[in-house]
């Protein structure tokens, strides 16, 4: 019921949603993060810490299933190079009732932003720059308490 994947392949949303829907839930909440096409980025590169990444995401999904009654939790994070409009991350949660699915989904994406070892580098034509962490991400992760 927990599914974690970290891979360079494009994220297959239809397959991931079908898998989590098969668990008998009443509601599925999901969040998909995309490479934004609006700010001149021509390519995004995602670096991660192999081994620790999967462990951190598994721990994050487990903490969600302890906090809410979930029938499923999926976290898929793409790594490597991707282009504007492509999917970077997908999280989904399944529960009998919508509130649990919605809250757990928001929790997972907020916590993932600050609690898993990924680093983004943006390319704009010839220039490449590491993305700076946002203070607002720490605040969002903190909404959920310890």
């Amino acid at each position: 019921m927990i599914r974690i994947a970290v891979a360079p392949e494009p994220i297959d949303l239809a397959a991931e949603l079908a898998a989590i829907e098969a668990g008998g839930a009443g509601g599925i909440a999901s969040f998909t993060g995309l490479v934004r096409a609006d700010d001149g980025v021509t390519e995004l590169e995602l670096e991660h810490y192999p081994g620790m990444t999967e462990a951190a995401l598994t721990e994050l999904a487990e903490s969600a299933t302890q906090r809410w009654s979930l029938l499923g939790a999926t976290i898929i994070h793409r790594v490597g190079r991707m282009r504007p409009g492509e999917r970077i991350v997908f999280v989904a949660t399944a529960a009998l009732h919508r509130r649990e699915a919605l809250d757990a989904c928001a929790f997972l994406i907020d916590r993932l932003k600050t609690g898993a070892p990924f680093w983004k580098r943006e390319r704009r034509g010839e220039d490449a720059a590491w993305v700076e962490a946002k203070v607002s991400d720490d605040a969002a992760a903190g909404r959920w308490g310890a």
Partner: protein, 83 residues
């Protein structure tokens, strides 16, 4: 001890990982950072501003004042920016 570097820390050091054997006085992550800074000009550039760094010991996030203990793998990197 294996030390791993990610993102701009890796780029400045010029390597993704190295094996080091710090002396006895190096007991915390912050001590390790200060000691690593002396290894090359690349290391010096990577570790010039420790407040910009984050760390993990044996694949768990730790604060910079964490004791190294029996760490087998220490990772140093900028704040994470995934998702």
């Amino acid at each position: 001890m294996d030390v791993l570097y990610f993102a701009w820390v890796r780029e400045r050091v010029g390597a993704g990982h190295e094996h080091v054997d710090p002396p006895a006085g190096i007991t915390t992550v912050a001590d390790l950072i200060g000691w690593l800074a002396g290894r090359s000009s690349g290391h010096a550039a990577a570790f010039a501003e420790p407040e910009r760094l984050r760390a993990a010991i044996d694949q768990k996030f730790v604060p910079l004042d964490a004791p190294l203990g029996r760490a087998r793998e220490v990772a140093l990197f900028p704040p994470v920016t995934g998702g």
